[in-house]
């Protein structure tokens, strides 16, 4: 079985994100980027399936600018076998990405697609679900455990109030949640070795997909600053404030 893992290049989670002065978008110039952390979990899960003999080949794909090949190299260094860069300088949106991925799935024919549940830049949480709909495949989202048994995938999902286990007929879509695994990191020697692994460059047109943005950003703003605290003189005053000012009691 082949496993396809889409990975996204996002602003590094350690970076303090700043909004552009004109409020049009987040500042991306000269900002450190990295693989979306949920995608790292997806890559790790694919590698573990391969290590357990449940998968033969791991293909990673990224849709984005030339620099997204660094993200693919990281996935290759972690243990993916080959990579596809679908190059576009457009601002990608979940539907456009899902359409490209549908084309990639049709070309690669994986038994399983594992995606991160969402990207930490736009927090859309849509691509996996859209891809499942476009393909007409079963989906197991917010996975905290994945067990492959023949042509079935048992996926434990993190839902409000507990865990839900669903059984999917493969091929299927899985989106990875935080507790699925602890991903390994790419060491420098492995990054160097990854340079020798195959990386194909394609365009959205190669998959017959249109990635033109359909959404319009009206405004981008930073969260408001925290207000200065006050010191209360007694427990009674604290309780009073919690009741009457904060309204939490």
């Amino acid at each position: 079985m082949k496993v396809l893992v889409p990975v996204k290049r996002v602003v590094d989670a350690n970076v303090k994100v700043r909004v552009k002065a004109d409020g049009s978008a987040v500042e991306l110039a000269n900002v450190k980027t990295a693989m979306n952390p949920f995608d790292e979990i997806a890559v790790e899960e694919a590698i573990r399936l391969k290590e357990a003999g449940k998968a033969e080949e791991i293909i990673v794909v990224s849709i984005g600018p030339q620099q997204a090949q660094e993200t693919l190299r990281t996935a290759l260094a972690m243990g993916a076998d080959r990579a596809i860069l679908v190059k576009t300088d457009e601002q990608t949106e979940p539907l456009g990405v899902a359409k490209v991925l549908k084309g990639v799935v049709e070309a690669v024919k994986p038994g399983l697609v594992i995606l991160g549940k969402q990207a930490i830049d736009d927090d859309s949480n849509q691509t996996g679900q859209m891809l499942a709909a476009l393909l007409g495949w079963a989906q197991g989202t917010f996975a905290s455990k994945v067990v492959i048994d023949g042509d079935k995938a048992k996926v434990t999902r993190e839902v409000d109030g507990g865990l839900q286990t669903v059984e999917l007929k493969m091929p299927a879509i899985v989106t990875a949640d935080l507790r699925l695994n602890q991903p390994r990191y790419a060491s420098l020697p492995n990054i160097m070795k990854a340079k020798k692994k195959p990386l194909d460059e394609k365009s959205p047109a190669d998959y017959g997909a249109d990635v033109k943005p359909r959404l319009k950003v009206i405004k981008t703003e930073e969260p408001g600053g925290r207000k200065a605290g006050v010191k209360v003189n007694s427990v009674a005053e604290l309780v009073d404030k919690l009741k009457n000012e904060a309204g939490v009691l």
């Binding site: 590094d12 350690n14 000269n30 900002v31 980027t33 060491s187 420098l188 020697p189 600053g225 925290r226």
Partner: protein
């Protein structure tokens, strides 16, 4: 944008006739540049003014030749010939909108009188306050007192002429003649300057009144006064005469700058004193005076600073060490860049630089003292001419500092670390009890590097010469650190000690998590923090610990950082037995054979289950040699070059990066301060 929580720190404060633009005060403190090195000193002060400190202070300035701290690099304002330098300094401070203050003082019986032949003078004939020096102070006559008061007046006039906004009357640190007169342990006079509290306070009051008179309506007068003695005679306390002095002089000065005495307690390190540790002693002051109150306490957290203001403890936040570690602290806060603050780690290497008489040094800020002579700026690095790729092997303090400088210059920097965790020795050593603040050396740099698109950090990535060759970087820096010797060879004895090689544990073993069984015998031929910090760390785990050292006292370098007395008290409190002046000659059958270091006389053997050898660290040259064999040019930096203090290896990282960038002249040829030649 500034966080509204911190707005209170940027309020103006009226101090007599002048107004401080904000509440941040860069304190008068020793900066290791005496009157002989004015250019370097101006560089330090101007950088602080640029960095947003509302008041930038001149260090202790002696008012006349009878105050003589021979060998220590202090300032002078003896006569009109000194005014020009001070005026130039103030011009540079004022250019950035800050006020300038000067701590005028006479060091009384703290003086030495060796360099210029005037004996120290004080209230009574007393040994000078340096028991290891065979010197006595003379008792001042009425004429001497009159002259001292006149000299204080003259110094104030000169300070005014030099453009200072605030002039100090100095009475702190057990190092001021006014304090010495006040101190009942020193003042044995029977005239109107001795005896009763009012008499002992007389000289202090007279000088303060006369300074006010000279200051007139143009400049403010501050008093720096230690309200409590935590060491020394301990006769002046915050609930006794310390409070009485504030009450007696309450609204006479325009500003009260209060702290504790002596210097070692005022400058408590992170190992022994938490941020804000002076609050319990100084918090009463604002209740006794209506004038603004300035205080210190190794403040690095803006939240703690705000808390001091809001709770009515202080009106102005004084910083010596925090302003050394980050001269741009106020500006970063104002610009909402709190994460960019380079926090003081409280190690007192700055103090050690002063006590050994060299230019100010700082573990966190390698650019201190280099502003003028090397053109190093704490925040800016000139852009590299072309963008090149640099591979740095090792993510300890040297590697990270070099990475930061090179990345700021625009190079693409890849840092590779063999361990799973970044930060090298500071991350590891910070796990030892008492040393947690040292982690800030790595934290600050890693945070900065993680923001930059031109930096890649790889942990768990050991590389050999082949991998480095294959990487094809334009430049290679080896910052691979050093490891502790196991064989007992150290600083006082350069050859191995019998029986150590195969059995002794080292600090590296402990940091790697090795199980240690007691009783433990620590052999310390390193003489800084490692042996004693580990002794406490192991004692806390319930192990019986003895510490053996060939030198006459334990960890004498910690006398330079002012920590030695407290370290010894700490060891004592944990039941650690100490054996100074004791040289190891061999370890066999669970016992350390020892002799007296000075006479060679045999001493009873010291038994234990584990021998912990803390001597010197050695670099491993093999990677450098393998690169050389392949003809790959590289630099060896930090501990891998010369194992040293964290301060020295951070500096090494910075200097090597600047040299790589071509921003350094040939080694040793930074700008020099030259004396005037009269021949």
């Amino acid at each position: 944008m500034m966080d509204p929580r911190y707005e209170v720190l940027f309020e103006t404060v009226k101090i007599g006739p002048v107004t401080a633009p904000n509440r941040f005060v860069s304190m008068p403190h020793a900066i290791g540049h005496s009157y002989l090195m004015p250019n370097g000193a101006i560089g330090i002060r101007e950088t602080r003014a640029e960095g947003g400190w509302g008041i930038v202070s001149m260090q202790l300035s002696e008012i006349d030749p009878t105050s003589d701290l021979s060998g220590l690099p202090y300032e002078r304002l003896w006569d009109d010939g000194d005014v020009r330098t001070h005026a130039k300094s103030n011009e540079r401070i004022h250019a950035h909108g800050a006020l300038a203050s000067i701590e005028l003082g006479h060091t009384g019986i703290r003086s030495r009188g060796i360099s210029n032949g005037y004996p120290a003078q004080g209230p009574s004939v007393l040994p000078t306050l340096k028991p290891e020096m065979p010197l006595m102070a003379r008792a001042m006559t009425k004429e001497d007192i009159r002259r001292l008061r006149e000299n204080y007046r003259a110094a104030t006039r000169r300070a005014k002429q030099a453009g200072y906004d605030i002039v100090y009357v100095y009475a702190a640190h057990d190092a001021s003649i006014l304090w010495h007169f006040l101190q009942p342990a020193y003042n044995r006079r029977t005239d109107e300057y001795g005896g009763s509290f009012e008499n002992r306070l007389r000289l202090f009051r007279e000088v303060l009144e006369e300074t006010k008179e000279e200051a007139g309506n143009d400049i403010a007068v501050a008093v720096r006064f230690a309200v409590h003695e935590a060491s020394g005679p301990k006769r002046i306390t915050h609930d006794g005469e310390g409070r009485a002095v504030i009450a007696a002089l309450a609204d006479l000065p325009d500003l009260w700058d209060v702290n504790i005495s002596g210097w070692s307690r005022d400058s408590g390190t992170s190992r022994y004193d938490a941020e804000g540790f002076q609050e319990e002693f100084v918090s009463f002051v604002k209740q006794v005076t209506g004038k603004p109150v300035l205080g210190v306490g190794r403040f690095t957290s803006p939240d703690t600073m705000v808390s001091q203001i809001r709770r009515g403890v202080l009106d102005l936040i004084g910083s010596a060490r925090a302003s050394i570690a980050d001269p741009f602290l106020p500006r970063k806060l104002r610009e909402g860049r709190i994460d960019d603050i380079r926090e003081c780690i409280g190690c007192n290497m700055c103090v050690a630089a002063e006590t050994i008489g060299v230019e100010l040094r700082c573990t966190q800020n390698p650019t201190i003292s280099e502003e003028w002579r090397r053109d190093w700026h704490p925040e800016r690095v000139p852009a590299a001419k072309t963008r090149e790729h640099v591979l740095i092997v090792g993510s300890g303090p040297a590697g990270l500092e070099a990475a930061l400088v090179l990345a700021r210059a625009g190079h693409h920097v890849t840092v590779t670390e063999a361990r799973e965790e970044l930060g090298g020795r500071v991350t590891r050593e910070a796990r030892i009890k008492g040393l947690s603040a040292w982690r800030r050396v790595a934290d600050y740099r890693l945070y900065q590097l993680r923001q930059m698109a031109n930096v890649d950090l790889y942990s768990g990535s050991a590389v050999d010469a082949e991998a480095i060759a294959e990487f094809e970087a334009d430049h290679v820096l080896l910052a691979t650190g050093a490891t502790w010797r196991r064989d007992g060879a150290g600083r006082s004895r350069l050859t191995p000690v019998d029986g150590f090689e195969d059995v002794a544990a080292t600090p590296d073993d402990i940091l790697d998590g090795m199980e240690i069984r007691g009783p433990v015998v620590i052999y310390d031929d390193d003489h800084y923090y490692m042996a004693n910090a580990l002794a406490v760390d192991l004692a806390v785990r319930g192990l019986e610990v003895q510490i053996v050292t060939p030198l006459p006292t334990l960890a004498p370098w910690m006398a330079q950082t002012l920590e030695q007395p407290r370290m010894i008290a700490e060891l004592k409190s944990y039941g650690v037995r100490m054996h100074p002046n004791t040289a190891a000659i061999g370890w066999a059958n669970g016992a350390l054979s020892v002799v007296r270091s000075d006479t060679g006389e045999e001493l009873p053997a010291i038994g234990g289950t584990t021998l912990l050898s803390v001597t010197v660290r050695m670099p491993d040259p093999s990677l450098s040699e393998a690169l050389a064999a392949r003809g790959i040019a590289h630099r060896v930096i930090g501990d891998a070059d010369a194992p040293g203090t964290i301060q020295l290896v951070v500096f090494s990282g910075h200097r090597n990066a600047r040299e790589l960038l071509g921003q350094e002249p040939a080694p040793g040829h930074f700008k020099r301060e030259r004396p005037t030649l009269f021949y």
